[in-house]
């Protein structure tokens, strides 16, 4: 049995439900107050005979934290781009985030575009438009309702599958950690720092490819 560890970052405008989404997934759904800075969560899930460990950084959506985001998406293997289906602005903001990621993250990344609040009726973002955009950047597209707990599991599964595929397609991806359970002592793996330190592989010229391929699942 193998274990895969990856760093995931949650991005999106304020109030779209990033903290609620992760809260719902780990079973701690409550009325949340705005995140200050960022919060860190560990999630584990199984895919077939693989164990997937996600280190999730839930970032704050407010403008004043925008400049801190690189700390969290640097070295990330996956990004959940969350928007509010009833706020077109929040969807437009996703595009800004994707551009920023494409410019600043060199490794391939698993992307998921997630429209939250499908339980509300004043929808402003067309499902087709969302799907089309997601496809264009090689991301999966999800419409979910955190409130009604609809689609939350699917999002995390999609991320996990994406990581798995990325690892099997691209054997030179080094930022995703793969362990054999027999040799891997759970919880002792080096965590993925939100740090300026980059592993030497990331700085090598071999990775300075201009075109940044994004894996889709």
């Amino acid at each position: 049995m193998k274990t895969i560890e990856g760093k995931v970052v949650l991005l999106g405008s304020q109030g779209v439900g990033k903290t609620s989404l992760i809260g719902r997934y780990i079973g701690n759904f409550d009325n949340v107050s705005p995140t200050i800075g960022a919060s860190f969560f560990n999630c584990k899930l199984n895919l077939g005979d693989m164990k997937i460990k996600l280190h999730v950084w839930d970032t704050a959506g407010q403008e004043r934290f925008r400049s801190m985001a690189p700390m969290y998406y640097r070295n990330a293997n996956a990004a959940m781009l969350v928007f509010d289906l009833t706020q077109y602005n929040s969807f437009a903001a996703i595009k800004g985030w994707v551009k920023e990621l494409q410019q600043n993250v060199e490794d391939t990344m698993v992307l998921a575009v997630i429209g939250n609040k499908s339980d509300l009726h004043q929808r402003q973002v067309d499902g087709e438009e969302g799907q089309k955009y997601a496809t264009s950047i090689g991301a999966t597209y999800h419409e979910i309702s955190v409130l009604h707990n609809e689609g939350v599991e699917t999002v995390f599964l999609a991320i996990a599958k994406g990581l798995l595929r990325m690892v099997s397609d691209n054997t030179d991806i080094t930022s995703v950690k793969i362990f054999d359970s027999s040799s891997f002592f759970n919880g002792d793996g080096m965590p993925l720092l939100p740090s300026v330190e980059e592993s030497p592989q990331n700085t090598s010229i071999a990775h300075g490819i201009l075109e940044k391929p994004f894996t889709c699942c």
Partner: protein, 520 residues
């Protein structure tokens, strides 16, 4: 009004310095201040406040950072200090125009409930742009804020500074700080210095979110910047702070309350934190809070925490439910410590079964996982040594009352130890069981506090018989004491009760206060 009918007398001859200072210690981890320091600073900073603020660029944080990888923006040179504002004709026309439009739908100024609120707080920019209002959406108040800005800039034009306006039972208090104007409109009995202090707290809350340098920078770039863009999500911090100040004596006392703990337990907790964190570089403060009371505070040698900064931290913890469910990595600026830079805080609750909040504050932004590991180790050790249990026990125990201590005439008391900036108060007992009564009692304490510390005529001792209670307030060399008695208590009985109380506090001091000042 009760105060008017009361007999005030000083009883200098009846009460002597007790010779004991319960809770006193030569070691302190907090900066000790007089609660009115802020006010005096505010008064003296007056017109060239701008300049002072811009000049204070010495950054404590960069001092700590050996390798200054983080760029702390240094605020602009004091070039604009002498600038005064004037209303030009266009602006005047604008104000007049807006005034004419004031009777729009949903105008709070026409709403009785809004007008009846006891204490309004407004924040606006020097350009008159609304930023915050306590009881209504600020953008409905453009006209009122325009008037406030006009008042401030009119007085500024005469190289002077507006402090307060008094109309009937309403006080209008102004604080102009940096690029912001803060206004309190209050019908409470709080004095001008006390309201000024509260506005300063509100300002510090904003600094804590944005830093002084960022605040100055955005307004240097654009005078009519809409600060609400940067403050979104932080209004609740200001709301919470204002309610907090209405029910917590800690703010006007300028002091911190500690969670009562056996000294051996507290020292064991402190040692655990010190041992676990000793090797972590750049860790400045470790703070453990339970029920908003201080369990322990470990600091880096040379650096002290100001009670005001600790209050801001308490406000953050108390108002952020989301801190309970995850480990957070939170940038926080401590205005008294260094108003120009962020500290990074690893914030988490100890465990599901022990709701005490641990904050590890560092100047290093890349050590989240180091601190996260340290926290895990601290919790494990605390669990093994039964410290978690001890914290829980103290958190869940009903607060001791003066009746429990054996002082039947005494209803309630505030005791502040000056040398350590810590205070203690017992639990409320009847008749102070409803919110209104508690608020009324705190109001009485604030009146006494003001009279003891009145800048023009400070008093040492007040014994005052009111309608519903008798109050005693006393500033001794080592402490401040505010006592509420049954209304018919006699003076000798009151004095005897006070000395009994002081003896009790002295006996319990090691449990009620933190008497040492641990460092990493």
């Amino acid at each position: 009004m009760a105060a008017k009918e009361s007999a005030v007398e000083t009883i200098d001859d009846g009460i002597a310095e007790p010779g004991i200072e319960p809770g006193a210690s030569s070691e302190t981890m907090l900066v000790t201040t007089d609660s009115f320091d802020e006010y005096e600073q505010e008064m003296s900073s007056s017109i060239d406040g701008d300049r002072q603020m811009k000049e204070s660029t010495g950054s404590t944080i960069s001092e700590i950072q050996e390798d200054s990888t983080q760029d702390i923006p240094i605020s602009a040179s004091p070039q604009e200090s002498g600038k005064t504002l004037s209303l030009d004709d266009a602006e005047m026309d604008d104000v007049a125009h807006r005034l004419g439009q004031s009777n729009i739908d949903g105008d709070p100024l026409r709403c009785k409930a809004w007008l009846a609120q006891k204490k309004h707080i407004f924040i606006l920019s020097q350009a008159g742009k609304p930023i915050y209002s306590r009881y209504s959406s600020e953008d409905k108040l453009v006209t009122v804020m325009g008037v406030m800005q006009a008042l401030v800039s009119f007085v500024q034009a005469g190289s002077d500074m507006i402090r307060s306006v008094h109309a009937g039972d309403t006080n209008f208090v102004f604080v102009v700080k940096g690029p912001l104007i803060l206004v309190a409109v209050s019908k409470t009995l709080e004095s001008v210095p006390q309201l000024t202090l509260q506005l300063t707290y509100v300002y510090n809350q904003i600094i804590s979110v944005l830093t002084q340098s960022q605040l100055n920078r955005v307004y240097d770039q654009r005078r009519n910047f809409d600060l609400r863009r940067l403050l979104t999500g932080s209004e609740r911090l200001i709301d919470h702070l204002l309610n907090f100040m209405d029910r917590e004596p800690a703010f006007f006392l300028g002091a911190i309350k500690c969670l009562p703990l056996l000294p051996s337990m507290r020292s064991s907790i402190t040692q655990t934190i010190i041992q676990t964190c000793a090797k972590i570089k750049n860790l400045v403060f470790a703070i453990l809070l339970a029920n908003n009371q201080l369990v322990t505070l470990v600091r880096m040698n040379k650096f002290f925490l100001h009670p005001m900064d600790l209050h801001i931290i308490q406000n953050l913890v108390d108002s952020s439910e989301s801190l309970k469910t995850a480990e957070s990595w939170t940038p926080i600026c401590l205005p008294k410590f260094d108003s120009n830079g962020y500290m990074h805080g690893h914030v988490s609750y100890l465990s599901e079964d022990c709701q005490a909040c641990l904050l590890l504050l560092t100047v290093d932004r890349d050590v989240f996982f180091v601190l996260s590991d340290a926290k895990q180790k601290i919790v494990e050790k605390l669990r093994r040594t039964n410290c978690l249990e001890a914290i829980n026990e103290s958190m869940n125990k009903p607060t001791i009352t003066t009746a429990d201590i054996g002082l039947p005439d005494m209803r309630h008391v505030l005791y502040k130890c000056k040398s350590t900036a810590q205070f203690w108060n017992p639990g409320f007992q009847p008749p102070y069981t409803t919110d209104e009564e508690i608020e009324r009692l705190l109001g009485l304490y604030q009146c006494l506090h003001h009279r003891l510390h009145s800048p023009s005529r400070p008093l040492k001792l007040i014994f005052q018989q009111l309608d519903k209670e008798t109050m005693l307030a006393w500033v001794a060399s080592g402490f401040e004491l505010y006592v509420t008695f049954e209304p018919l208590v006699t003076k000798p009985d009151a004095i005897e009760a006070v000395s009994k109380l002081l003896k009790w506090i002295k006996k319990e001091e090691e449990r009620l206060f933190i008497l040492n000042s641990p460092t990493f």
